[in-house]
């Protein structure tokens, strides 16, 4: 019954908070900076990881393509004005697409394309002449080499040595280059089977994974510490705010303010700070890490490889975390304020 009658005057709370922020602008600014810094740290860490991973992958892919291309070149000579056959068994990965792009860029005369899995679309946009109507028998015709690529199963013909050799009877170069380690490919007489793919050994794979988790662990640890520091900083600023307003809060309690009203004031103040500081820090952190990584890796590479949606998600996430941290930080100070004995505010020496 009593609960209903003493309402929480929301507008009064907001007024008190805003006035408080205005009066103690300097310190509010410092609190704000604390939140912003914590959020910026978090967001730049997340964004940095994302950019790093994207750039790393892009670079790796580029260097992998380069490596495959130079292998191919070593076998068949420069591809310029040559004919290249392609046997596609299924969808192509980035590296294989990069290799095709490399062939086109180095002005091959034409690519004779046989698609063993017609249902998989080919995403290449071709400037070089690309004949897609080629049969498997005709794919090696006049070709300097034949590329075997795609993730699908081998066409049956390639599993026996004799038919493979016969494919190459009119070929300019008897080279079958595979971008992956082909399972069950027959070794045909007179045809060189070249593996362009580089397989990581299991030990190498474990080591890479270990390095990755280690780096991630270090980063998460630092982020966690920075968040704890942020919370401590905000809590400290809020406690100061409580002490400063001792008299004001006590007077309000004497005049009939509920403890929940007093608590509300501090939660409102801190979530307001958290929101503003979080947005500031989030934007600053994102811009900062883009700038720094752009500077180290080159802006073109960073901007082309980065996943913008992911960055947006991280930004929103960090702002939410900023608000969350501020609210967590306000729990104790708000409790102190709410449990204040009203009469203590009436003494002159406070």
């Amino acid at each position: 019954m009593i609960q209903d009658q003493v309402r929480l005057p929301l507008s009064v709370a907001i007024g008190v908070v805003m006035q408080g922020i205005r009066i103690r602008f300097g310190r509010s600014l410092i609190t704000l900076m604390g939140v912003a810094l914590g959020t910026a740290f978090l967001v730049s860490n997340l964004t940095g990881q994302a950019i790093n991973a994207a750039v790393r992958q892009e670079e790796q892919s580029r260097s992998e393509v380069k490596r495959m291309a130079s292998f191919l070149e070593a076998e068949m000579g420069p591809p310029r004005d040559r004919i290249v056959g392609v046997i596609q068994t299924g969808p192509l990965d980035e590296n294989e697409q990069g290799l095709i792009r490399f062939l086109i860029d180095s002005r091959v005369k034409s690519i004779q394309w046989y698609n063993a899995a017609p249902e998989t679309p080919i995403s290449q946009s071709e400037e070089a002449e690309c004949r897609r109507d080629v049969s498997l028998e005709g794919v090696a015709n006049q070709a300097g080499s034949v590329l075997l690529m795609g993730s699908g199963p081998l066409p049956d013909v390639l599993t026996a040595p004799e038919p493979v050799a016969s494919l190459f009877k009119d070929a300019a170069g008897k080279i079958l280059a595979c971008t992956r380690t082909p399972q069950g490919l027959a070794s045909p007489p007179g045809v060189a089977v070249v593996e362009l793919a580089r397989e990581f050994t299991p030990e190498e794979l474990i080591k890479i994974a270990e390095q990755k988790t280690q780096a991630q662990f270090r980063r998460n640890w630092i982020t966690l510490i920075s968040m704890v520091v942020t919370v401590a900083g905000i809590a400290n600023a809020m406690l100061m705010s409580v002490t400063e307003r001792f008299r004001e809060i006590g007077t309000m309690k004497c005049l009939g303010a509920l403890s929940s009203f007093v608590r509300w004031i501090f939660f409102f103040e801190s979530s307001f700070m958290g929101a503003v500081g979080g947005v500031m820090g989030g934007v600053a952190g994102t811009v900062f890490s883009l700038a720094v990584y752009g500077f180290t890796y080159g802006y073109g590479l960073v901007f082309s490889s980065v996943d913008w949606v992911l960055l947006g998600v991280y930004l929103v996430l960090s702002v939410l975390v900023g608000i969350g941290l501020s609210i967590v930080a306000a729990i104790y100070p708000a409790g102190v304020a709410a449990s204040m004995v009203p009469a203590n505010a009436l003494r002159t020496d406070v």
Partner: protein, 258 residues
């Protein structure tokens, strides 16, 4: 807790017909402050009844415990021992929200130190308790302006307390005490900073509230005019109520009880 049996008996004698009901009853209220190792016995067992519509003055030398008593019967602080009833309710039984409701609706306070909110204007200060009671917006504003007019500050609505004189601040404090039309008004030296004329106006305002609205007025004061208007005067010394008298029993030329 040991209470003098006789005292207790006397207190609970039903009021005679025609006598106003008791709004505040304090029984053997003691308050001890601890500052480090030092104990201060601010109240050493105060027992009193205050009746509806009464104008009660509390006198006593500085440090005698007037403000402490004021805090106890105003439900602002818990006594170390003893009981305080407000409208027959033992305030020790109330939780913090219920106490807040009581302070908000039942009692208007004029603190010795004013305790106006420095960042708020006069108008906002007076509107603050109204907001706690759920009265907001234009209605609250109108009421607050009316009250401030009543205390003669209609032309100072938008000033901050720091921009006002001590007497003006005191009047804002009085206006704020009237905000929720309380049944009980507790004032701690309400005329200390006022000149003769304004002081008299405030005393008359309180007297009028008593007469017209049957409001109970309790004030710690040394103001003779205020004492003369009271129904009853309590003399407190060293934390104990030592004397009670009607104004005609006091020699105001010496401020001595006859």
């Amino acid at each position: 807790m040991s209470i003098d049996k006789e005292k207790l008996q006397a207190l609970f004698v039903a009021p005679a017909a025609g006598v106003a009901p008791c709004v505040i009853r304090a029984i053997d209220v003691k308050k001890i402050y601890w500052a480090g190792q030092v104990e201060t016995h601010a109240l050493r067992g105060a027992t009193l009844d205050i009746y509806r519509g009464e104008y009660l003055s509390i006198m006593g030398p500085s440090g005698s415990g007037k403000t402490t008593l004021f805090n106890m019967i105003g439900a602002l602080q818990k006594p170390t021992s003893g009981k305080v009833y407000i409208d027959q309710v033992d305030i020790a039984q109330l939780d913090t929200d219920e106490l807040a409701w009581l302070r908000c609706h039942k009692i208007g306070y004029v603190f010795q130190t004013f305790n106006l909110i420095p960042v708020m204007t006069c108008l906002e200060n007076v509107m603050l308790p109204m907001a706690f009671a759920g009265l907001e917006g234009e209605a609250a504003r109108e009421k607050a302006v009316g009250i401030l007019d009543l205390v003669g500050l209609g032309h100072r609505l938008l000033h901050k307390p720091a921009e006002l004189s001590g007497g003006q601040q005191q009047r804002v404090a009085i206006a704020r005490a009237l905000a929720n039309s309380p049944q009980i008004i507790l004032t701690d030296e309400p005329t200390a900073n006022l000149d003769q004329k304004t002081g008299m106006e405030m005393i008359e305002l309180l007297a009028r509230l008593k007469v017209e609205k049957n409001v109970t007025i309790i004030s710690a004061t040394h103001d003779q005019r205020m004492l003369q208007k009271s129904d009853r005067i309590l003399w407190i010394e060293d934390g104990q109520i030592v004397k009670a008298a009607r104004p005609d029993e006091i020699d105001f030329s010496t401020a001595e009880f006859r």
